[in-house]
Symmetry: C2
Subunit: 381 residues, 2 copies
């Protein structure tokens, strides 16, 4: 695999009431192409991750809509895998480039979530859960609460431990001008925020967000990589049952472990070689499970590492410097691509106030639902 | 490309009120695997085409649902491109196999359309058209009616000419036990059927259908193909604007021409080498445009060829022997995969009462919307 990322762009994330899905996609496409120094016509194929346009914007067949935005005829593939739609779009682009049929691909993740009342958005989001779980009255925060409760009981963690990923990610977000919630929160504020689904409180949850991101990929084939070109050294998707009730364990997401194992193998590295990570923290418990399942620490010790600020900027392996889903925002179909944009900016040394000191390897971990789909990418400079 | 199809299966198409989307997918998966002589665990990756589950069954994240049906953890990719979702799923599977990362893939197309009142289905279907067209009050039959009207005026064809593809496809469907409408219709019946959108009448339109289909693909790599193994010799997707109003012509679908040109090139053949075709006849005008844009006859002469029964079973290049979308039925996400199943059965000599005399090459043409997405596959025995 000799695929590089030549351009990367993220729109502002937030409640963007003055912008349509069309606007967001257009901005992301233009931004990524400008960054790559390419004309639209140089792109040969497009991959698009989106979950909710049919429900929120009464619009699917987004592939043809992208043709209209680009202004010329080109194959466009829309994928949907709940909140992992962006990651899946990128992994499909890698297949297309590796097949040798195409050399330059554009990958877009875009989502508009704030145009409907919150009840309708919540209802639509639950289309990504199993029928039985919905009939039992579970929401996604309810499902992750079951995982959190099980985790606390199994490993003797406290509710307070669930706060640390949120506190860290909000701190990181203050350094990110694209973030939806760029302000710090305290342990007290988390503890006093409304209880949504015991033990998860409002400030343990990511928000409802509009936004888009795009990257331009190129298959270099036998050509040598230029200085400062970010390479995709692993691209792996894994799957799991839709329903939590069909699984052996609630404290491990097996699809994350499956994908991680294969991704490390593809990249020829181990978790210790990663300089920074963007992981899927839709709820704080998800980030704790992620750092364990990705092999950054032992099972059951993620909450201790978080409490000891092991993954905060300044430490050897910072997690979610962008602010993560929690504080940068979570426009579901865009998240997987935005993680890649963040890693690219860090690896290229252009991440502004939150720039790390010459990071070499980044890992992006994108989850659909409660782990029914997981996509992991590893990038190297 | 050395990809073969080792298993193929189609469920009965029709108003299957006793079957859920889960049931249909399960039947198609089991059928294709049995035909391939494979155990579930031998499949390494799955691609799924579906358009409407979110609206009809309140269910997306179908990828994880497939993991539950299969009973083990595996990457599953759901694609959506309106009525071309099935074809796109197959072309993505080809990329994955050609990338060398996987050897055996399962491709599923599945759609449940009869569980909602017809007004809701029609509304949901229109999510695949442009916002402006919907606001102008156009439905898909309205959009194709604009194309039909333009065709009749440009090429001096009559409304009667629009009937012949329907009459032929219903005749073919009488030979297909899986068809939704396996009965003949007459020129008079078409002429007397209700006018839906001038000049298109009810019997010019395909129906609302439930159904699923699946195929098992294998990348043989350097291995020789066995006797009676169907090979995929071309797999091409092309795109067009979402809105008809953004196009130069209403009497040509440029994405069909783009995809056909590239597919013939990939396969190293011309249209004259094709033994049989399954083309996207959502409305009869679509089949007339298809045979022209695929190069089977000159532009503007498709209706004459249809009138002269040039594409009926028994002729050198029969079109839609399955009954097509018109008479076999059109469960939108399943159609593209069902076309492949039909071609496989013919090429393998197991198409029962409608079996041709040793066909060698088959072409499948799957269209999303009014041509915003087109996928063409060419198969060879």
């Amino acid at each position: 695999m000799n695929i590089v990322i030549n351009g990367a762009y993220q729109t502002k994330f937030g409640e963007l009431w003055d912008k349509s899905l069309h606007d967001l996609m257009t901005e992301a496409i233009d931004g990524a192409l400008q960054d790559a120094g390419l004309e639209k016509k140089e792109i040969e194929i497009v991959f698009l991750g989106n979950k909710m346009a049919s429900q929120v914007s009464d619009q699917n067949h987004l592939s043809a809509l992208v043709n209209e935005i680009l202004g010329y005829r080109i194959p466009v593939v829309r994928v949907e895998s709940a909140c992992a739609s962006g990651g899946v779009a990128l992994s499909q682009a890698c297949f297309a480039l590796e097949s040798g049929q195409y050399n330059k691909a554009l990958v877009i993740g875009a989502e508009k979530m704030t145009d409907l009342p919150i009840e309708q958005i919540s209802y639509s989001l639950m289309h990504a859960a199993s029928e039985q779980e919905r009939q039992a009255g579970l929401s996604f925060v309810g499902l992750y609460a079951l995982m959190a409760k099980n985790y606390l009981q199994t490993f003797g963690a406290s509710q307070e431990d669930l706060a640390y990923p949120a506190i860290k990610n909000h701190k990181h977000a203050t350094l990110n001008p694209k973030a939806q919630f760029p302000f710090e929160i305290s342990l007290e504020q988390v503890a006093q925020s409304a209880l949504v689904a015991d033990p998860l409180r409002l400030l343990h949850c990511s928000g409802i967000t509009d936004g888009a991101a795009a990257v331009v990929l190129e298959n270099l084939g036998c050509e040598a990589r230029k200085n400062n070109q970010v390479q995709v050294v692993a691209s792996v998707q894994a799957g799991e049952t839709l329903a939590l009730s069909a699984r052996q364990s609630l404290t491990t997401i097996e699809s994350t472990k499956d994908a991680a194992q294969k991704a490390y193998q593809q990249a020829g590295i181990g978790p210790e070689d990663i300089s920074l990570l963007e992981v899927h923290d839709c709820f704080t418990i998800a980030e704790i499970l992620a750092v364990e399942d990705l092999g950054l620490c032992h099972k059951g010790e993620g909450h201790i590492a978080m409490r000891n600020q092991k993954f905060t900027i300044g430490c050897p392996q910072p997690v979610n410097i962008s602010g993560g889903l929690k504080a940068c925002g979570h426009p579901v179909g865009a998240t997987g691509v935005k993680q890649i944009v963040e890693l690219c900016n860090q690896l290229k040394g252009r991440a502004g106030a939150r720039q790390l000191n010459k990071p070499l390897v980044g890992l992006a971990h994108n989850v659909g639902g409660t782990g029914g789909t997981v996509v992991i990418h590893i990038l190297k400079i």
